[in-house]
């Protein structure tokens, strides 16, 4: 066990625990537990870290596996390993290349997904970009939403200015499709400009709507323009 508390740094190499506080940098390399809130400049977890409390950091990086029970406020947050966050997450710039599961809501400016993310509450950012898998229990809302369907994508509701969903095709994905659904599924999709591919939704509402390949939509309500491309299937469409 090696807990240093010099110059306001906390580093746990090996097995150790701390009670939280204010630090310049926090590094967990072994198996570390922090009981209490952390307020720091940079937080990185390379081993297995548990924080029983909230984390506030400018830079937060998770390469190993981290479990955090409180809220997270991070200017930048990147998860390359596994992050399991029980509370809300606020981050200006968030990127998930590994796996992230969030028990509360996500709020911020930018969210990039290359791995997979599960959010139980709402996900509200300005720019949402996904090239992986996601499952959002509540509302996904963003100014710009760009989704490439590499995996199973799910959200209860989607709303924003521009919503673009693009289908990915590759040999591997075609095989995967036979055993698992590789699609975007949502109850409601609402936006100003919507262009969908490979999507299953009950209702799509917007000003300009394009329904493309492999779509299955029950109802489309549009204001200005509506177009179906390829084998997109729409049960009913209404102009408002």
């Amino acid at each position: 066990m090696n807990v240093q508390n010099e110059l306001g740094n906390l580093s746990i190499n090996g097995l150790g625990s701390s009670s939280g506080g204010n630090f310049d940098s926090v590094v967990i390399n072994g198996k570390g537990t922090v009981n209490g809130d952390i307020d720091c400049h940079s937080f990185s977890c390379n081993g297995a870290g548990t924080v029983n409390g909230a984390v506030k950091a400018e830079k937060m990086k998770i390469n190993g596996s981290a479990k955090i029970t409180g809220k997270i406020y991070a200017t930048t947050l990147s998860v390359d390993g596994r992050g399991s966050f029980k509370g809300d997450v606020y981050s200006d710039k968030m990127s998930i290349s590994g796996s992230g599961s969030i028990g509360g809501n996500v709020k911020g400016e930018e969210l990039k997904i290359q791995g997979r993310i599960g959010v139980e509450g709402n996900c509200e950012v300005e720019h949402f970009k996904s090239e992986g898998q996601f499952s959002i229990g509540g509302l996904l809302s963003a100014e710009n939403i760009v989704i490439r369907t590499y995996g199973e994508c799910k959200a209860k509701e989607i709303g924003g200015q521009t919503i673009i969903v693009k289908q990915e095709t590759s040999f591997f994905l075609d095989i995967l499709k036979t055993v698992k659904s590789v699609k975007l599924a949502a109850d409601v999709i609402e936006g100003d400009d919507i262009s969908l591919e490979n999507t299953k939704a009950k209702v799509v509402r917007g000003n300009h709507i394009i329904i493309g390949e492999n779509c299955d939509i029950d109802l489309v309500e549009y204001k200005d323009t509506f177009k179906i491309i390829g084998n997109g299937r729409v049960n009913k469409s209404v102009q408002l």
Binding site: K107, S141, A142, E190, L219
Partner: protein, 206 residues
């Protein structure tokens, strides 16, 4: 306040705003989460809003967004106070409160020189009710008492009631939007929402 609801579709039609704008404003907390009321209809789920409140809010946003950024607007609508202090001179200069009411307030509370938002809000409500002649000075004392005793509970959607029966007055704070029923002879002198006062005060401060 009426409990009439408006569907999202009708709202967009009526106000001319787009889905993008509505979601943007929601993200910026200009429209509170609990105004989004989800109900199932024959087309699946639809979202409804309290009609009067949402129309008023959207009108405010539309008229004010020319001069203020969305973040400044969000600050204004947020029920939390933000950090600032105002001196006594500043208060009078900005015409937020009149001299007699201020003197009364200072004599009732320990004389403070810098007003935090919370003090200001209490003062503002006091000024409002005293100036309108709805309550007298003694009742003003009671009002301040209630406001300062329950300042932590009296936030977001609280409503302040001032009632009178057979010349005896009382005052209470209702912290949620439940219905409240009074005995027959009771006169409700004042009923004001604290969050509306907060907003009103914030517009004056900007």
């Amino acid at each position: 306040m009426s409990n009439e609801l408006i569907s999202k579709k009708d709202l967009l039609d009526l106000t001319g705003i787009s889905y993008g704008q509505l979601y943007r404003w929601k993200r910026k907390n200009l429209i509170p989460e609990d105004w989004f009321i989800r109900k199932s209809t024959f087309t699946g789920q639809e979202t409804f809003f309290p009609k009067e409140k949402i129309l008023e809010r959207i009108d405010k946003i539309q008229t004010m967004k020319e001069n203020l950024s969305l973040d400044e607007l969000a600050d204004m609508f947020s029920p939390s106070a933000g950090e600032f202090k105002l001196s006594v001179d500043e208060l009078l200069k900005r015409n937020i409160v009149s001299k007699p009411v201020l003197d009364f307030y200072l004599s009732e509370t320990k004389s403070i020189t810098d007003f935090a938002f919370e003090n200001l809000l209490h003062l503002f409500i006091l000024e409002k009710l005293l100036q309108s002649g709805e309550i007298n000075l003694d009742e003003g004392k009671m009002l301040l008492q209630v406001l300062s005793d329950y300042k932590d509970d009296a936030k977001q959607s609280s409503v302040l009631f001032f009632i009178r029966k057979l010349g005896i007055s009382s005052c209470l704070i209702l912290s949620s939007t439940a219905n409240i029923f009074f005995e027959k002879g009771t006169k409700v002198v004042v009923q004001i929402s604290i969050s509306e006062c907060t907003e009103e005060l914030k517009t004056k401060l900007i």
